[in-house]
């Protein structure tokens, strides 16, 4: 590829980019034997496809419709990705095709712990089920928190964990066509929402990080993950989440820079913890934040350089809430609709 003048992106080594003299760009993304080509330079794309045909045994499949088990639907609004077929297969495999759907993936009243007194369940079966759910989270940020919860018990699953995993399947049953809509917003704005559930784990009291990033108004990446160390204050947990969110934004910026898409305004970081925002801006030493120097200085540095700006959002409009705790049906649906998730299918 490099012979043709394509450059490998530093943000992802499977991404190849070529800029033409006229300012056009051609983008190539490789996944083992699948290749996606896009960009605004039609001519270069035709040359590329001819080159594929002569040098390699590569077949043109036309417009992107199906990629790694992900369905891509084109419409006037933009396009929509979902994994409906994968969900149908999962329902068949787990014998849940006739189950009663539930409105949320996590029961807000249950705190999942290690429950040693409960019956052990078949580990292999549990791991396979959770593995399939993890793959589904490519198009389903709505189950990300639920999946991160059940995947914490892979080594010793008990009945309660299996029930929690099956609840996710039951939730999917009611919403198999839900996926992410990519709209034409004519923008390359970068934004992130970070949130944390302080000491949320009943097993080891670690906190859970949750963040979403939006590029041009479309949801692109997210994470729901238990932090690797115990935080001693909620501000400490919040800083860790903010730092992780910033890292993700920086990665996105690297990709955009490789594509020569400029975004000069600061990237917005939304957070619902006022004290964390004020400490981030204020270099004064606080006793309780001494040990989180690194994250704090990292955030401060990015703020000072004008790369990032923080914004307060009320807990009500905090989108990342869904990544750190089990919510009730109303709040859950409210956030889902704001994420740009849509349902193309209504169950009978």
């Amino acid at each position: 590829m490099t012979n043709l003048g394509y450059k490998q992106s530093q943000g992802d080594h499977t991404l190849f980019i070529k800029h033409s003299v006229s300012g056009g760009v051609t983008i190539l993304l490789v996944y083992v034997d699948d290749i996606i080509v896009t960009g605004d330079d039609k001519e270069k794309q035709i040359i590329l496809s001819q080159c594929f045909a002569t040098n390699f045994e590569i077949k043109t499949l036309g417009r992107l419709k199906y990629f790694l088990g992900i369905e891509v639907a084109h419409s006037k609004k933009g396009f929509f990705i979902s994994q409906q077929k994968y969900i149908t297969d999962l329902l068949n495999e787990t014998g849940k095709t006739a189950c009663k759907p539930v409105s949320t993936p996590v029961d807000p009243n249950i705190k999942l712990g290690s429950v040693k007194e409960d019956n052990a369940v078949n580990k292999e079966m549990y791991q396979r089920l959770v593995g399939r759910l993890i793959y589904l989270s490519h198009t389903r940020p709505d189950i990300a928190f639920a999946v991160s919860l059940v995947s914490q018990f892979m080594h010793q699953p008990r009945e309660a964990h299996l029930q929690a995993a099956l609840r996710i399947v039951q939730y999917l049953k009611g919403t198999p066509g839900r996926g992410i809509l990519f709209k034409r917003n004519k923008s390359v704005a970068l934004e992130a929402y970070t949130n944390v559930d302080y000491a949320g784990s009943v097993v080891d009291r670690r906190s859970t990080t949750g963040y979403y990033t939006f590029l041009g108004g479309n949801l692109v990446t997210w994470k729901s993950k238990k932090q690797s160390v115990v935080a001693r204050s909620s501000a400490e947990a919040e800083f860790r989440a903010m730092a992780q969110g910033i890292c993700e934004l920086l990665w996105l910026k690297i990709i955009l820079e490789d594509l020569k898409l400029r975004w000069d305004k600061p990237m917005k970081l939304y957070c619902d913890n006022k004290s964390a925002i004020s400490i981030a801006h204020n270099p004064v030493q606080h006793d309780r934040t001494k040990h989180i120097e690194v994250d704090r200085h990292f955030i401060k540095e990015k703020l000072d350089s004008g790369l990032i700006c923080t914004s307060y959002v009320s807990t009500q409009s905090q989108l990342a809430d869904i990544l750190t705790k089990g919510l009730n049906g109303i709040n859950f649906e409210r956030i889902i609709s704001k994420l740009g998730m849509e349902n193309t299918y209504s169950p009978a």
């Binding site: 083992v32 290749i35 692109v220």
Partner: protein
Amino acid sequence: MAKGFTQTYGVDYLETFAPIAKMNTVRVILSLVANHDWDLQQFDVKNAFLHGELEEEIYMDLPPGYDGQVAVGTVCKLKRLYMG
């Protein structure tokens, strides 16, 4: 690579590269395509390199479940490229 724990890129094996795109990157590209109204084409490589010819000798432990009678510590030599 099957049991990649002792290999070092470019040291223990020649330039093999399993190009696996991050799903995050895929979504980033999709968002850009939607916002810029770009065309989106897909290509498929016929018979990838799953059964490529080997250019150097590679040995591996016997696969688990191999029940032929062999001495302890026997390894096997790969005749074909092996993905997994």
